[in-house]
């Protein structure tokens, strides 16, 4: 069986990239919120890391949606998804969550960058002042909305696949959690990589803060991955066949053990522990760790999507 072409394959790699981008957007904005509320406060917008996260979150979501639309067989009819809703469809609920998420995202970004925006406007448009003041008044509510919607978006990427009873490996209750956690850790990695590329201090308090959250996230992801496959193997039947086919010998087995487990999880974990123990963080350490983590999450999405569709119930 060719790793990229087989009879039961329906969704190709663009969907994996879309799932990756939705996850990284949700993760990045979670870290922007955390950094603002626990570390930086009012001056959060000056931090390169927060700025990176605030660039990644909307751009990733737009790019993901763009890929999704182009991947339709009728791209120009995409508006029908926005007009017609089906409450039993995970995709339909996901589209609704994505739309509200984007509104909350931009409202929160407006609160975060209130000062520079007002400075730039220089009282030219009094409407802007009014809107921003109204947002600021409701900032805590907007933040609450945004965090839950971001978590919902991250989990949705998993539910989208786990709704498919056709494929026993995808129809798995652990999948949404696995994708949520790996999406959040990709958001952390994206924020770190973007931050240091935007001349952020690699030994700054933002990096220390994110690394402290990243270590338990990676451990949790490993535990979820373990549960995911052990659960499938213990279920027996086609679930077991699907799991063994995926992580056994072959192209995707190599991707899983080498790419997802070693490069994507074990190496970032080792680097993070090493950096926590050693004194100073350097640009190269932070950038390489984050790149490994991002690469691993992207591979995980492709691995699950392709191997998941190989075995039919």
């Amino acid at each position: 069986m060719s790793p990229f072409h087989f009879d039961s394959l329906v969704w190709h790699w663009p969907i994996a990239i879309y799932l990756f981008l939705a996850g990284i957007s949700a993760g990045a904005i979670c870290f922007a919120v955390l950094l603002k509320h626990f570390k930086l406060g009012k001056n959060a917008y000056k931090s390169s890391f927060v700025r990176a996260a605030c660039l990644i979150a909307p751009l990733a979501v737009f790019a993901g949606l763009g890929i999704l639309v182009i991947d339709l067989t009728k791209p120009f009819d995409f508006w029908k998804i926005l007009v017609f809703y089906n409450p039993t469809s995970v995709m339909s609920i996901g589209v609704a969550v994505l739309l509200i998420y984007q509104v909350a995202l931009f409202a929160w970004l407006a609160c975060l960058f209130k000062e520079p925006i007002l400075k730039w406007c220089n009282n030219r448009w009094p409407v802007v002042d009014k809107v921003l003041n109204a947002f600021t008044k409701w900032e805590a509510t907007i933040t609450g909305l945004l965090v839950i919607l971001a978590l919902g978006l991250g989990a949705y990427t998993g539910f989208l696949l786990s709704a498919l009873t056709t494929f026993p490996m995808l129809n798995n209750p652990v999948l949404p959690l696995l994708f949520l956690i790996s999406g959040i850790s990709s958001g952390a990695a994206g924020t770190l990589l973007g931050g240091v590329l935007m001349k952020g201090n690699p030994d700054g308090k933002e990096v220390h803060f994110i690394h402290n959250i990243e270590i338990p996230l990676i451990l949790l992801e490993l535990a979820l991955l373990f549960t995911f496959f052990v659960g499938l193997i213990l279920t027996g039947g086609q679930s077991q066949a699907a799991a063994l086919n995926a992580i056994g010998e072959g192209f995707w087995g190599w991707i899983f053990w080498g790419g997802v487990v070693v490069v994507g999880l074990a190496m970032p974990l080792a680097f993070n522990l090493f950096m926590t123990a050693s004194a100073k963080r350097k640009f190269s350490y932070v950038a390489i760790t984050a790149s490994c983590s991002l690469f691993g999450v992207l591979l995980l999405r492709n691995f699950i999507l392709y191997t998941g569709q190989m075995t039919v119930a």
Partner: protein, 229 residues
């Protein structure tokens, strides 16, 4: 700070409640559908695998009646075999087409409602215009019988000839074309229909019922061939 925290929690709860409501509603609705499905007419089909000779007259007739383009098909006969030694050799034939599920996994996942369950006939159909081609239904169908029609770019599949033969008051094209009368079509809700009579009299099975699909295509198992474990 305290007020802000309260506001944050309120926002979080409001959105969590919203998301939970929408998805909860969806799941509740999919359960409620069970009752709504109860209509006066439910078309079903029986494929007698003993009578089938694998001549493909059904799939040819289907292509013609429903204008199915080359390269894709709504109906195929899959063959397995040969079993046994010459001259006592046998093939097994199974019908690959829409199973007209009452559990309708394709309808449940369709984001626009293009895949729908017709309440007056019980037939699962596709609204070509509403379909955007996201392929979700194709992935969700455990029987893998859905495809993208290269002409309309919409998802397509067998609809028991709902738009063609049934409208003319005739039987589905495959049923009419079958030379050995291996196919029986009719209304499950009519206690005197031929399908009900055959189903009551003959042991039959359906494919992948363990997935909760409740298909309306019944099969009478082939007596020939080897016993499979």
């Amino acid at each position: 700070m305290k007020k802000e925290r309260r506001q944050f929690i309120k926002g979080a709860c409001a959105s969590a409640f919203g998301v939970a409501c929408v998805s909860g509603l969806g799941i509740a609705k999919s359960n409620a559908h069970k009752d709504k499905n109860e209509t006066n007419c439910k078309y079903a089909l029986i494929h007698d695998e003993n009578k089938c000779i694998g001549c493909d007259a059904c799939s040819v007739a289907c292509r013609e009646a429903n204008d199915v383009p080359d390269g894709v098909s709504r109906l195929e006969i899959e063959r397995e075999g040969p079993f046994g030694e010459y001259p006592n050799q046998f093939y097994r034939f199974t019908r690959k087409s829409c199973q007209q599920c009452e559990g309708k996994p394709c309808v449940n996942v369709c984001p626009t409602g293009a895949a729908y369950h017709d309440p007056s006939t019980g037939i699962v159909s596709v609204d070509e215009w509403k379909c955007v081609g996201c392929l979700y239904c194709i992935a969700a169908c455990p029987y893998q019988i859905r495809f993208i029609n290269p002409v309309t770019k919409a998802a397509d599949k067998c609809d028991f000839c709902k738009e063609t033969r049934l409208k003319e008051g005739r039987q589905p094209a495959c049923v009419e074309a079958c030379p050995t009368k291996a196919l029986t079509f009719g209304d499950l809700k009519d206690p005197h229909s031929q399908v009900v009579e055959v189903l009551k009299a003959t042991p039959n099975y359906r494919s992948k019922t363990e997935l909760g699909t409740r298909p309306k295509v019944f099969r009478i198992a082939s007596q020939e061939g080897e016993i499979k474990l």
